[in-house]
Amino acid sequence: MIEAHALTKRYGDKTAVSDLSFTIAPGIVTGFLGPNGAGKSTTMRMVVGLDRPTEGSVTVNGRPYRDHVAPLHEVGILLEAKSVHTGRSAYNHLLALAQTNNIPRSRVDEMVDLVGLHEVARKRAGGFSLGMGQRLGIAAALLGDPGTVVLDEPVNGLDPEGVLWIRNLLKGLAAEGRTVFVSSHLMSEMAVTAEHLIVIGRGRLIADTSVAEFVGRASHKVVRVVSPHAAKLRELIVGPDVTVTSGEPSVLEIHGLSNQDIGNVAAEHGIVLYELTPQLASLEDAFMELTRDDVEFKAGQPLAGATAGEVR
């Protein structure tokens, strides 16, 4: 369980995280979404006391992280930035971390095997690929058999097999009753991994909701209709609040009416429907919609009047 209360972090004039409050519950995977620079990493660093909040506080299982007697047993963290001495072997890296919390050597061996680094455990971490580095980071995070796992962009640099491995690992950890808090910029990844979402933009909370609700909220209420009498249906329903777009003669995309309304109209007029489907926005669409105004670095807008045809 992670609880943030009015968490705020300013670096000089720049506010990285602003008045952020949330609770991360155990037993499920909670995704942490936000555009680059939204303050995700800063928030995670504050959870484990690497950065000191300017205002507010964050606790893990009811206490500030630094007050726990066995910190590695409370929280396992994988930061986005590398946290390994490049000159030290993977094994010695894990051993040195384990020793601080009196975690036995046997656990180090176990973790090395779990993440599949057995072959390279005695090699210097500086020579590791991005994927191997991530695996070492995961091994370090799980060393203390932590009740809470905080992972910043864990699938970064992993091959498809590794991505799948992380996905199953996260779900497994949550199923064991652990608190799993994971950030990602890959919405598709969150869609298949997370149950709950914390969305931030420019350091502010945008949404704290279940994945299903998040997608539902941002859906455009578009209904796709396939009918042999599409043209007739179109004439019947089109109005000031209803717009209809159509790519093919028999297919309509209707904005502004619910699927019930459309079905009723069709039935009244004896119009045959082959398909009547409310279109859900993808998580990605939902995310773009919600964070549109909160992206810190926007791609340059095209100049007014400079249409594609005029660009030379």
Binding site: P26, R45, V48, G49, L50, D51, R52, Y65, R66, H68, V69, A70, P71, L72, H73, V75, I77, L79, A81, K82, S83, V84, H85, T86, G87, R88, S89, N92, H93, L95, A96, L97, Q99, T100, N101, N102, I103, P104, S106, R107, E110, L114, A140, L142, L143, G144, D145, G147, L169, G172, L173, E176, G177, R178
Partner: protein, 274 residues
Amino acid sequence: MTAATTLDPHPVAVIGARVTTAGVLRSEWTKIRSLRSTYWTIIVTVVVSIGFGAIVSAVQAANWPHASPGDKASFHPVMASLGGIYFGQLGIGVLGVLLVSGEYSTGMIRATLTAVPKRLPVLWAKLAVFSAVTAVAAFLTSFIAFFVGQALLSRQHIGTSLGQSPALRDVVGAALYIIVIGILGMALGALLRNTAAGISTLVGLVFLLPILAEALPSSWTRHILPYMPANAGQALWTDGDVAHLAPWTGFGVLCAYAAAAIALAAYGLMRRDA
């Protein structure tokens, strides 16, 4: 947390996990012994110190029959054998800097401070382990340098022995000096969090500051130079120079600098984001 886990088939493995002083000390020992730079920097200190001392001693011995009366009068057999430590100290100093700055430059510090979020135990454990390792290297260096040098000088019967005061104090003092220079390096690494900056500052303090102080009017130099960190510390093992403080006073001044730097480093470690 649930007791049954698929991840950990032996949950008992981490029962009793807690941060302890002994654990943090063991961790720092693992860290220092698992980096190549530790071995290289120690080898530099040992080889350069003993090597220079041997060369100077051999040259002095070979030149002795032709030496001027003035040279003979100012000849100092202990210094001939220990002089290499002027350069050799840099190896241990660099090790001190690297031990902390290396954690910052690689990001290891984040792992370290999440494992020990109270932070200060890490600094004290580092200091203890580093001092112990350095002590072994430093005493080996100064005693071997002394004996090698004296063996070379004894061919002209111009050597001395530990029994002749103040040879023993010089040899022990040189080792203590190396240790404290290393600790100063460690503090600089922690304060500056950057290897290049830490090493440059250490070189500046030990080698350049005295040269700058020499450039001042001599009435000033007399009052300033003895209090420069390296000069103060060298008072313990390079006797005879009137510009020096009393041996243990000088060493005390160097220790005070190192203690102040460590105190600042501790303050910074607690106050600053990692």
